[in-house]
Amino acid sequence: MNQEEKIKPAHQLDPTVWVDQYADYLYNYAISRVNNEELAKDLVQETFFAGLNSAKNFKGTASERTWLVAILKRKVIDHYRKRNSKKGKAEVRMSYNNEGDGSWLEEQIADPLSKSENDGIENEELGLAIHECISKLPAKQAEVFTMKTIHGMSTEDICNELSINPSNLWVLVFRARTSLMDCLNENWFAI
């Protein structure tokens, strides 16, 4: 114990920045696992609460985000456990869609999802990588980029909300995109 105290932890918790820094990252992580936006939001919120409550258990060996992701992972598992504990709901359900014209066997056996399964994993990693890069951007750039690209808001709305003019907005978007390209460069741009 004494030894642990002597070593200055490499990472420290700062709950005030949690929501701004990690909420979107955790949200994406949760969505890819529970596939439900409302539920994912609740899980993220619970994660923050649990993080606050057990902040004293944080040893500082992992980064803040890794620690929060670990909590979220538990929350996701708890969610599935709770859901499956309700009797009768744990059985495997299959949906047969009778819309296709081909034979039933071909449609069911040649799983159209099998190819996209790996894509799903890759997309999740990609999404998390992008969010990690977004969180490194200056606040204003991140805000504008998120509103424009992810929420798909119109230029006019964003300008009104942030009280900036369109040319300001496009410069912010351009800077954000440039930084993102640099950030994603090593892993995702095979050019």
Binding site: V19, D24, F48, G127, I130, L180
Partner: protein, 75 residues
Amino acid sequence: MITCEESKTICSKNQYKEASWSERLSMWFHVLMCKTCFKFSRKNTKLTGLCNEASLHALTDNEKSQIKKKLGQDT
């Protein structure tokens, strides 16, 4: 003739299909001559592709401030 900075801004604008045709035209002329901007616009298009591929989600500012409020971090 537009500057590189302008051409890159128009290129970013074009990723959201909001550049006017005259802007696009001047950008294309620039890109034809400027190798750096050519590379930039290729990367920029790729970034758009990646963002679409990843099907990104994000909480809105409203939702975030709600969470903050619940955490007792009033701002």
